[in-house]
């Protein structure tokens, strides 16, 4: 790194646009500070007290001037607001077809899983030029996934999934910081984002110990935890079939309809009585405390795969 840079490296597709807004804000700050400071200095010299019994004429105020200096800042902040909100909205959703990576934060490390089964700690390998979506959760307290070079940051919460995405535009190694204070070694909860050329990344992904994919690991948990006993593929079990469920609307006993996304599946595993699928009875036991965050991720990956494999007719066999 250079001796004293004034700007972090721009290594993601959004970095440049964030920096442009930052530059504009800096110019606004410099302009108004300079304006106010120079006016104050001018007045303090021009109107310095020349004799102890000076009594300047009072000035009540000036209404047009008040209107003017209310309107100008309002217009300027309106420009900033629209500009920054548009940028934020544009970057809020991960593009379709983003590569997925799962991140679990814990005191004081980052655990990373690739769907293909590669696991890493405090390192995240990603390919150049391809949108990457991270789905993140925490095993304990609130952490925050921050990559300054990408200008992205998102809290990592226990009991919830948050997500973040980026497209790396530079090959290299970049800081990953935890930006939410999380206890004694918060400062040590740092890692690296390693951006590789796509073919090099593919080799990395395939190399090492070719462990099982998240989907395969999830299937094992699904069997060994007894999920498969009730959630049979034909829908004849005590629980609803999970084929083709992922991402689809699910009707509940309350009459509500929810989407079977990561958060819903997680809740159904940990708090099975919270939302009961129409036509079923609340008999499922909780798996709270029995599955690790990684196992949960694996099971969800498996259920996702079930969702893709067999787009089922929505008409569910009612028992």
């Amino acid at each position: 790194m250079q001796s004293m840079p004034f700007q972090p490296e721009q290594a993601s597709s959004i970095a440049k646009s964030v920096d442009e807004l930052y530059l504009f804000l800096t110019l606004v700050t410099v302009f108004f500070s300079a304006l106010i400071f120079s006016v104050i200095f001018y007045f303090m010299i021009r109107y310095r007290r020349r004799s102890p019994d000076e009594r300047p004429k009072p000035i009540e105020g000036n209404f047009p001037l008040e209107v003017l200096w209310t309107t100008i800042p309002t217009l300027i902040v309106a420009v900033i607001f629209v500009w920054s909100s548009m940028l934020y909205f544009k970057n809020a959703e991960a593009p379709k077809g983003s590569m997925e990576i799962f991140v679990t934060g814990k005191q004081w490390m980052w655990k990373v899983e690739h769907p293909e089964g590669q696991r890493e700690i405090n390192e995240v390998h990603v390919p150049l030029g391809r949108p990457v979506k991270l789905t993140m959760t925490s095993e304990d307290v609130i952490h925050d996934f921050f990559v300054p070079a990408f200008r992205v940051k998102k809290d990592v919460l226990p009991g919830r999934y948050t997500s973040l995405w980026f497209t790396a535009t530079k090959v290299g190694t970049f800081h990953l910081f935890c930006a939410q204070y999380c206890g004694a070694f918060h400062a040590g909860m740092i890692g690296s984002i390693i951006v590789q050329e796509p073919d090099e990344f593919e080799r990395w992904l395939a190399g090492g110990t070719p462990g099982e994919s998240m989907e395969q690991a999830g299937e094992k948990v699904f069997q060994s935890s007894g999920c498969s006993t009730c959630h049979t593929p034909d829908g004849a079990g005590l629980g609803p079939s999970l084929l083709g469920v992922y991402g689809q609307p699910v009707k509940l006993t309350t009459g509500e309809t929810v989407t079977a996304d990561d958060a819903y599946i997680r809740e159904s595993i940990l708090l099975p009585k919270a939302k009961i699928v129409m036509g079923y009875t609340p008999i499922m036991p909780t798996f709270q405390g029995q599955l690790t965050e990684e196992q949960l991720n694996d099971v969800i990956a498996y259920i996702r795969a079930l969702g893709k494999s067999q787009p089922k007719p929505k008409e569910e066999g009612k028992q």
């Binding site: 001796s3 004293m4 004034f6 972090p8 964030v18 807004l21 930052y22 804000l25 606004v28 700050t29 108004f32 500070s33 106010i36 400071f37 006016v39 104050i40 007045f43 303090m44 109107y47 007290r49 000076e54 009594r55 300047p56 004429k57 000035i59 009540e60 000036n62 001037l65 008040e66 200096w69 209310t70 800042p73 902040v77 309106a78 900033i80 607001f81 500009w83 920054s84 909100s85 934020y88 005191q107 307290v141 609130i142 925050d144 921050f146 300054p148 940051k153 809290d155 919460l157 226990p158 009991g159 919830r160 910081f177 930006a179 204070y181 999380c182 206890g183 004694a184 918060h186 400062a187």
Partner: protein, 542 residues
Amino acid sequence: MSTATLEPRVHAPRNYLNADYGWKSWLFTLDHKRIALLYLISVTFFFLVGGSFAVLMRIHLTEPQGALVQPETYNKLFTLHGVIMIFFFLIPSIPAVLGNFLVPLMVGARDLAFPKLNLLSWYIYIVGGMFTLYSAIAGGVDTGWTFYTPYSSTYSNTQVTAVAIGVFVTGFSSILTGLNFIVTIHKMRCPGLTWFRMPLFLWSMYATSLIMVLGTPVLAITIFLLALEHLFHVGIFSPALGGDPLLFQHLFWFYSHPAVYIMILPAMGVVSEIIACFSRKRIFGYSIVAFSSVAIAVLGFLVWGHHMFVTGQSVFAGLIFSLLSFLVAIPSAIKVFNWTATLYKGSISYEAPMLYAMGFIGLFTMGGLTGLFLASLATDVHLNGTYFVVAHFHYIMVGGAVMGYLGGIHFWWPKISGRKYPDMWAGIAAVIIFIGFNLTFFPQFILGYLGMPRRYAFYPAEFQVLNVMSSAGATVLGVGYLIPLIYLIWSMRYGPIAEPNPWGATGLEWTTASPPPTENFAEIPVVTEEAYAYGPKEGSGD
């Protein structure tokens, strides 16, 4: 000269300081001026404690791996620095010291509406302070002053309960002070003192009191729930217990963002008084400045979500909170423009209080403008949780609130103590503080933009240069703060006797003796003119 120094001792008129002696006359006093001095001594003590933690932190951060202490200890240092500076120095500083002293004098009353509650507020503050000091001595607390759950409630095994009790208890002293000011300003203004003849300091005290009374109970409840979860594992905030991990942040910032205005509004009031006096001008756009204080107090309650842009809250919530946060910047900008315009065609002199007030405007302007970076969604995503935030809020809370507090102490010191301090030293200190402050905190804006997160006990080596610059600046700042402590204490015994109105200021507090008698005024004054009647006196011939 020997006769001159002896004379006042022999003939010293009775005033609130010499009305009675002995510790009982202080600890059981109901005089708002004596209670203000009790607060002055206590907040100064806490400022020195909180400040020494900051010194240790800055020394520690001169080395990337940490030069002084273990990471656990560093975490306790920044936690106690924040807790003490915010709850035990900044929040009570101007209201409980200058407000207590001045509100009755400025409204032309003999005391606040509820003198016993006023004394009680000080005792409550001291009890809260004792719990906090106990927590520091008994091993410290490492949650950060923001106490984010579930770390604070279920993971930290430090003195969370003691600090929670300290903050909970001291909140009630704020509530009592706010209540006292609201009632006093409503009911005890002397004849002729209409709302729009009040000095702007009273307007800012009024707005501050509203926030104290409306906001502090929310903090108390939140801290209570935190203690409940910490002690008895009642699931409120921790997902492992069935709680909501973000609920705490909503409740906490609902108070703690307005709390920033508890710190800055009083300083704005002080600065209005000083600028009017030292430029001999009525504050330009008086009623607009007055209403902008109220606007800030009201809008301040609606912007808490801007602390949570990266928590995963909905993008639409983010949008609304961003918009409201930009709106709250506008009344602040209006104030700065009006103060500047007040100088126009004035008769400006540069005694120490004016230097502090000018320092306030400069640093507050920088603090306010850098707030735009954090109100703006796209840039906040990058800057949130970094040193940029640390720099920004120190420009507001130290550059703004502390400069205002020191300006006020210097402005009213002759009235409070009956003595004058050496103006040259005071001017030198003001300049040193201004320079030291910028050297300390400006590099932190760059550090934050480069990506250094806050609350790091050690950091990658590339951030060292800026950290060393910041630590060097902190030395200058520390020296700057010690100088006034020395000459103000010196002046209490050796300073020249102050006349009732040494600055030629308007305002009822300057019409009575320095220091004022216990009953403030021999006769209740009658106000016949607007505030800041610095203009040519009709028929006075000068």
